[in-house]
Amino acid sequence: MRVIAAMSGGVDSAVAAARAVEAGHDVTGVHLALSRNPRSYRSGARGCCSIEDAGDARRAADTIGIPFYVWDMSDEFADEVVEDFIAEYTAGRTPNPCLRCNEKIKFAAVLDRALALGFDAVATGHYAQLRTAGDGTIEMHRALDHGKDQSYVLGVLTQEQLKRSLFPLGGDTKNVVRAEAERRGLQVAHKPDSHDICFIADGDNAGWLSEKLGPKPGQIVDEDGRVLREHEGAYQFTIGQRRGLRLGVPADDGKPRFVLDIEPVSGTVTVGPREHLLVDTLECVRPLWCGASPTEPLECTVQLRAHGAEHRARVTVLDDDRLQVALLDPADGIAPGQACVIYDGTRVVGSGTISRTERVAAARS
């Protein structure tokens, strides 16, 4: 196959590209330029969008011996990922931009362009495993290394996208990949992993959002409606957040308080005890299925945030655009906007975007 290897400049995508070559594919390396101003995004080891990262990707491609180009996806990234991120926070939700980038950029804009240019597939350094089922459908499973598993951020991919995807690292641990990078003479073998959000240079999401959105004053209240303090913008808070609330006076019972609810129109942020964060019912919109959509309620597990725990659940399709998820193990800190990825064992079944949560009955009273 003719394969585009998306190369971020990190160790994972470099080894993925090398393995794609070894598997006999005709591989071309592509670094995605996602920032309109390459200097504005995080530089060095922490991100994936800087000039240094483009240079690291180029050197990896040299070492592997494949052609290398930079594709400018900055307009698409700004429209589909950054704007969406801002809009979601403005609406009081908590988006996952990495998932969005996979759905709209890496396995959409990039894949479409690759196909049009005569390529057959896109290979990335994501940790997830693809298997072909008996009927020929492609199944996506969690990576062997559950600690590195990235199937959650790939849970939005459809069968058509999965058929054109290669994840050469899914069957290995990070340590194996790093050792292999070293053995292959890749200069990025010891480059630190990237974390956080690539377009927020210093990792200060709240600061970045307040710069973009300006002050939108509101109140922090407790569950009885007592005003605890004013704040500069509800987008600085996330459901489940405990740190940085700066409430001054402790709660009556002296226990720590958490963000329970964010009301986007008034900007009111409600805080309360941890128990009140517990949620047992979710409603999701925009369901996406890796294969056919289920007709019966699914007994399954769900994951509700990147690197989050699995919860046993029953998922019911309400209509074409809505799912109801009943959690057998209640979860806390669940925010609308996050993705609910549905698993059958290690296999990804599909996903939805959380639109509404219901707290467990005991906590509601």
Binding site: T28, D112, R113, A116, L117
Partner: protein, 398 residues
């Protein structure tokens, strides 16, 4: 991987001439700092000075007018920053330059504006990429006394459009304004005569005409004294300190000598190749548009550049597809990270961003053959078809 390469990017850099490689290899084997007083030093100095005399002769300049630099970028920086610093006063802060200059000139100018208080005055160009003399006239006459330096490239690097240098000089001369021209792309492809051009300063570089990368020169009149960028041993009239690169300079001289001797014959040979290329492109892709001045010649266009817009395509997709077929071309400029940027030259010529992104530069040189051109034409239909499909997909995702 094993496809034969057809190199059509001579405007980026052109292969070294065998004669220049031979001279350079020989000189690299010798010891001697041209500033040393002993026999080896004198021998090195002799090579430098003989090279200087040869280059000067081939450029219609005096040997004492040549200041060797590391290349075109440094020569442009020396000319622009140096003359700005030497001539500025509270009443004199302006730099007049064209909108289609290479980054090696544009960036020093914008840096001076951002950090040194320069006022910048951009001369517009027409649709062919030639500066508008009436606008330049107005810019000069508005207040001739406040101009520190005026600069217009001899020929544009993306379009090949040759600028009316004689007329530019004419406009400035009456007021004693120093005029500089970046002749990096023109040298070797059209005759250059520094003295009769009446320029005050002119930039040339070796690697665009068959010499090595890493050496160039600012040709500058003796009575024009820019402030140096580099201070040190006082080499090159005190204008460019640093041990001179004997082997580089010797190879530069050889390359220029050979190139100028063959200039007329090569220009007509290359122009024929270009015509073959352009005819083929417009036959195979009827909506392709060849930009710049359609006429070749000393007052029109360099013989070796064909700049083409392919409507509905992205230049970087075509570049990649051509590359996979062994054909090497350019989209114009890319930023440090390698991201293709819409060319400021095309935008200045009145192209919109989409057309600017959908263009390629094919540039020929001394080693180009009919086979190179035919290879482009052989793969063009498939490349074009795929690039157009990719552009449509991209439009759909936006």
């Amino acid at each position: 991987m094993d496809v034969a390469r057809s190199y059509l990017d001579h405007a980026a850099t052109t292969p070294m001439l065998p004669e220049a490689i031979e001279v350079m290899s020989r000189e690299l084997g010798r010891v001697g700092n041209a500033s040393s007083l002993h026999a080896s030093g004198r021998a090195a100095r002799r090579v430098v000075e003989e090279s200087r005399e040869l280059i000067a002769e081939r450029l219609g300049a005096r040997p004492s007018e040549l200041v060797f630099t590391s290349g075109g970028t440094e020569a442009n920086n020396l000319a622009i920053k140096g003359l700005f610093w030497a001539r500025r006063s509270p009443e004199r802060q302006r730099i007049v330059f064209s909108s289609i200059e290479h980054h090696a000139l544009l960036d020093p100018v914008t840096w001076l504006a951002a950090h040194e208080g320069a006022r910048i005055d951009v001369t517009p160009v027409d649709r062919q990429g030639r500066i508008q003399l009436d606008a330049l006239h107005d810019a000069v006459e508005q207040n001739p006394a406040d101009i520190t330096v005026l600069t217009t490239m001899w020929a544009n690097n993306e379009m090949g459009t040759i600028q009316p240098i004689r007329e530019v000089v004419e406009l400035a001369r009456a007021h004693g304004i120093p005029v500089h021209s970046d002749a990096v792309q023109a040298a070797g492809y059209v005759p250059l005569d520094f003295t009769s051009s009446e320029l005050d300063a002119m930039t040339v570089t070796a690697h665009k005409l068959g010499g090595p990368v890493g050496v160039g020169a600012l040709v500058i009149k003796r009575d024009v004294t820019p402030t140096p960028l580099l201070h040190g041993g006082g080499q090159e009239r005190d204008l460019r300190s640093g041990t001179v690169g004997v082997a580089l300079i010797a190879a530069f001289a050889k390359a220029l000598d050979v190139t100028v001797a063959r200039q007329a014959e090569q220009a007509s040979r290359i122009e024929r190749l270009r015509q073959r290329l352009v005819d083929g492109i417009t036959r195979l892709v009827p909506d392709a548009v060849v930009n710049g001045d359609p006429h070749s010649g000393h007052d029109h266009r360099l013989p070796n550049i064909a700049h083409v817009t392919f409507p509905g395509c992205e230049g970087d997709a075509m570049l990649m597809l051509f590359d996979a077929q062994g054909v090497e071309v350019s989209t114009g400029s890319a930023c440090a990270a390698g991201v293709p940027q819409p060319s400021h030259v095309l935008l200045a010529m009145g192209f919109d961003e989409i057309a600017a992104r959908g263009s390629l530069r094919f540039s020929l040189g001394h080693s180009s053959t009919e086979a190179d051109v035919d290879r482009v034409l052989e793969v063009l239909p498939a490349v074009h078809e795929r690039a157009r499909a990719a552009r449509l997909v991209r439009g759909g995702t936006r």
